[in-house]
Amino acid sequence: MDTGRKDNAIKEAEKMTISDIQRGYRSKSFSVKEIVRKFLDRIGELDGTIGAFLTVCTDKALREAEELDERMGRGDDVGPLAGIPVAIKDNICTRGIKTTCASRILEDFIPPYDATAVKKLKDAGAILIGKTNMDEFAMGSSTETSAFQTTCNPWDTSRVPGGSSGGSAAAVAAGFVPLAVGSDTGGSIRQPSAFCGAVGLKPTYGSVSRYGLIAFASSLDQIGPITANVKDCALSFQILRGQDPRDPTSVAAGSETDTETDLMKDLEIGVRGLKIGLPKECFQQGLDPEIAESVQASARLYEKLGAKVGEVSLPVLESGLSVYYIISSAEASSNLARYDGIRYGYRSENFHDIDELMLHTRSEGFGREAKRRIMLGTYVLSSGYYDAYYKKAMLLRRKIRGIFREAFQEYDLLLLPTSPTLPFGIGEKRNDPLGMYLADIYTVTMNIAGIPALSLPCGFSRSGLPIGLQLAGNHFAEDKLFRAAFSLERELGISGRKPVIKGVEQYA
């Protein structure tokens, strides 16, 4: 019966973490090409059901895997993520590989350069497997506003994977890749991670370069990793972060910002003495009782592990949501003004003059949600309304930052739900834009304040759907986030649980 260690070692590739794969490479249990082939096979078998990928780079990935095998064979230094298959959200530029933002208007766009995040991953030896589906221009919380396809939640294919990085989170949950990169403007890494049972980090604003990230709301956007466990997330973030001369908002290493801390070193030292605040406003009406129960159970576990848990007030959630939608739409209306059909991207064939060219190109190229945000943003910036909306929102942004600053004088971390609801049904909120916006209530304020936050699986609903909790820290306190998340993950013991996707049986 024994088919040899090698076969068994690779049979369950979908359950392998980055560390597992690295261990396998070190012990020569399998080659890079075998691993990459295994993941590609699984994508080929099951992504018809899930719809996580917009582009799969089969040939390129296998070629790179072969090259890497050769280099490893020679004993070259191949980098900290050597041979790790990675998926990239389709709003992050990849040289020579179509990058669409899941929008008709960029349907044929092939970037002539790599985003800094992509370059860093490639330099670290990672192998780009494909580009993942998303809400159009990252505007949405369900991945349903994609112009191209619907992505299903691997835990229940009648439900959404969350959004906007829904394809990235679904790809990790389905075992298509051990690492997917997403972007988070108001929860777009954390909420899909919660919906799909993955670990997702929105880093401190400025810690990961945005060069090559197609802009939605530049003062809020941040790139971050989605993985199956905390250790992989920390390892990946360590590769992605760092100052970049091509992004003037990226932050230099230094004593204050401390982007050089080795995050792996203190990962396992536990939470004894850490002060964790539970924002009381998060546990009021509108929160699913099963999520409340699960997050509170985790708070009790933290106490058991030696953390000091107390209640804190964050009286900014409701107005924070408005501030977020005002600022992000305003910035989007400006950022998306560049899509005019002149130099690149979709161009309407139906026009007589330059005005019609732009009008028709934009009206045909953008989907309904992108248009809604452009309109909202144009409205709140237009004369007569600027003071009532945009100016007030900018003032409130200051207030929100102040409230967090105060909270972090008393607490090291905040613990709250990631999403007020469990993954909802496909189509359920498609015609209810305000209802969809309200689902972001626990995540947007961290983007407004620029602080880091991580979503961690903390349990399952009675119906078997993943529940995520959120840890938020002060600027550049990712080390504490990872430490606390790692402790809880170990205590909960649910990491590594994978959904059974229809079709798996015939594959096995």
Partner: protein, 94 residues
């Protein structure tokens, strides 16, 4: 906040977007709900806050140096048409 179709059409012109009457009516309804929700910011006390950037924020500048882009072909593959090394675009002036 009452939003009518005319307001939507006016904003659409500013945003270089075009809507049919039905689409505009639908947008007006959605806008009204969203803007009503935004009014919760009026409950917040804004005294003592100003728009000036917080201390610590600084402008990051770099030298204005020319760096040639080495792969012109890749750069221009996203354009619709080239002529003599220039982008050819539809006529914009009469």
């Amino acid at each position: 906040m009452k939003v009518d179709k005319d307001t939507i059409q006016y904003i659409a012109r500013l945003a270089k977007l075009e809507f049919t009457e039905e689409e505009a009516a639908r947008f007006a309804g959605e806008f009204e709900k969203i803007l009503d929700h935004f009014e919760n910011i009026d409950k917040e006390d804004l005294t003592g806050l100003d728009e000036v950037p917080e201390s610590g924020a600084e402008t990051v500048l770099r030298r204005d140096e020319v760096k040639p882009f080495d792969n012109r072909q890749e750069l221009f593959r996203n354009t619709k048409q080239m002529r003599d090394g220039f982008l050819a675009i539809p006529k914009v002036l009469e």
